[in-house]
């Protein structure tokens, strides 16, 4: 018998009983069910995602429309709410150390007790606006308030009453000393801008002898 014939005989007599056939069929059937559920899950996910996107889009459209109306009203009346306070940059000079503080902000500054130091505050504001009624104040960490002006455990270093001319600054020379036994000392600037009183802690003054 040639090798060709042997191969033909071998392959022709492959066993007919294939016990794995049923096992495979069961596995496929089981997987089909899982696959179907997974596809259904994907389909449900798509439905849920579509609904979410549609809801968010609707909310966004409503918000844009409402905001647009509100913005139009504000512009027409010239009214300015709390969120509409324009950017004011405070320029601070403490003994030659200069800082620009856009929209507030605070710096840590070391000072020596009893050594007088010049403190200057200036403002950069939009053209046509005015800063007025400026206070330079030092305080401890507690019992500080601002109403028509600074109140509580504060020490007023300087008060400029009335509007500040463009380019005008507020200056004072202070001999550092603990304020109400507090060290460090907070340096505040209080001013009125656009009809609103604004108080900013602009520096923490760390005093040493």
């Amino acid at each position: 018998m040639t090798i060709d014939e042997e191969l033909q005989l071998y392959y022709a007599n492959l066993p007919d009983d294939l016990p794995g056939e049923q096992r495979i069929a069961d596995t496929i059937r089981s997987h089909a069910s899982q696959h179907h559920n997974a596809r259904r899950g994907v389909r449900n996910w798509w439905v849920a995602a579509s609904a979410t996107v549609a809801t968010v889009a609707a909310i966004a459209i409503v918000a844009v429309v409402v905001t647009g109306k509100d913005r139009d009203n504000t512009s027409a009346s010239g009214r300015r709410g709390p969120a509409a306070v324009p950017a004011v940059t405070i320029h601070l000079d403490v003994g030659g150390q200069q800082f620009a503080l856009p929209n507030g902000g605070s710096r840590n500054i070391d000072l020596r007790i009893g050594h007088p130091v010049p403190i200057t505050v200036a403002f950069t504001i939009p053209a046509g606006d005015t800063v007025k009624d400026v206070y330079l104040v030092v305080s401890g960490p507690n019992d500080v308030g601002f109403g028509a002006g600074p109140t509580g455990k504060v020490k007023i270093l300087k008060h400029h009453d009335g509007p500040l001319a463009p380019g005008q600054s507020v200056s004072v020379t202070w001999s550092p000393t603990p304020v109400f036994d507090s060290n460090p000392v907070t340096l505040w600037v209080y001013y009125t801008f656009g009809g609103t009183g604004i108080n900013d802690p602009i520096a923490q003054l760390h005093l040493s002898s």
């Binding site: 090798i3 060709d4 042997e6 191969l7 033909q8 071998y10 392959y11 007599n13 492959l14 066993p15 294939l18 016990p19 794995g20 056939e21 096992r23 495979i24 069929a25 596995t27 496929i28 059937r29 997987h31 089909a32 696959h35 179907h36 596809r39 259904r40 994907v42 389909r43 798509w46 439905v47 579509s50």
Partner: protein, 181 residues
């Protein structure tokens, strides 16, 4: 979205696949057994292939040469999985040696010997012989399943037959040697 993932369309696909699997699991299993020479491994191959086919049935089910495509998947599965399954397959091959009746002892021994010779061949050569002698495919069809040229298929076949002749001769000599007093 509802059209793309429509329930009715999916269920039509599912039913169609189930029909296909039901009608083809046996021939696939026999082909896989012919290729790899081991029932357990053949079952694993067919199951894995059918599960893959099921996932992609929406595409595969509509192919013009669907059977050839699935046969190629089966061959690829065998070629890629053979290495990692080699040790297990050998163990199962030994374990799955069928019990045979004494009057069929010689026939079964011949089959076992041939199976051992075939499983000793390189995997591409095993595929070529199975598709040629069992499935009756032409060299061109076998080349398509193996993703190679028909000339390569003929080369595989030639080498496989040469190896079988050589090893069969050795086995014959060894058996004759053992049979001597």
């Amino acid at each position: 979205v509802s059209v793309k993932w429509g329930k009715s369309a999916f269920e039509r696909t599912l039913v169609s696949f189930e029909n296909y699997a039901e009608q083809n699991v046996r021939p696939l299993l026999r082909t896989a057994t012919a290729i790899c020479g081991d029932r357990s491994l053949a079952e694993d191959l067919v199951q894995e292939v059918l599960l893959r086919v099921q996932i992609r049935w929406a595409k595969i089910g509509g192919l013009e040469h669907r059977d050839a495509y699935i046969r190629r998947m089966l061959v690829n599965e065998f070629l890629s999985s053979r290495r990692r399954r080699r040790s297990r397959a050998k163990a199962e091959l030994r374990a799955s040696e069928p019990d045979f009746a004494p009057d069929h002892a010689s026939e079964q021994a011949d089959r076992a010997a041939m199976r051992a010779l075939l499983t000793g061949l390189p995997r591409q050569q095993q595929v070529v012989l199975a598709l040629r002698y069992y499935a009756g495919l032409s060299d061109e069809e076998t080349a398509e399943a193996l993703r190679c040229k028909p000339g390569t298929v003929r080369s595989y076949a030639s080498r496989a037959l040469a190896t079988l002749r050589l090893n069969a001769g050795k086995d014959l000599l060894e058996n004759e040697g053992r049979g001597r007093p």
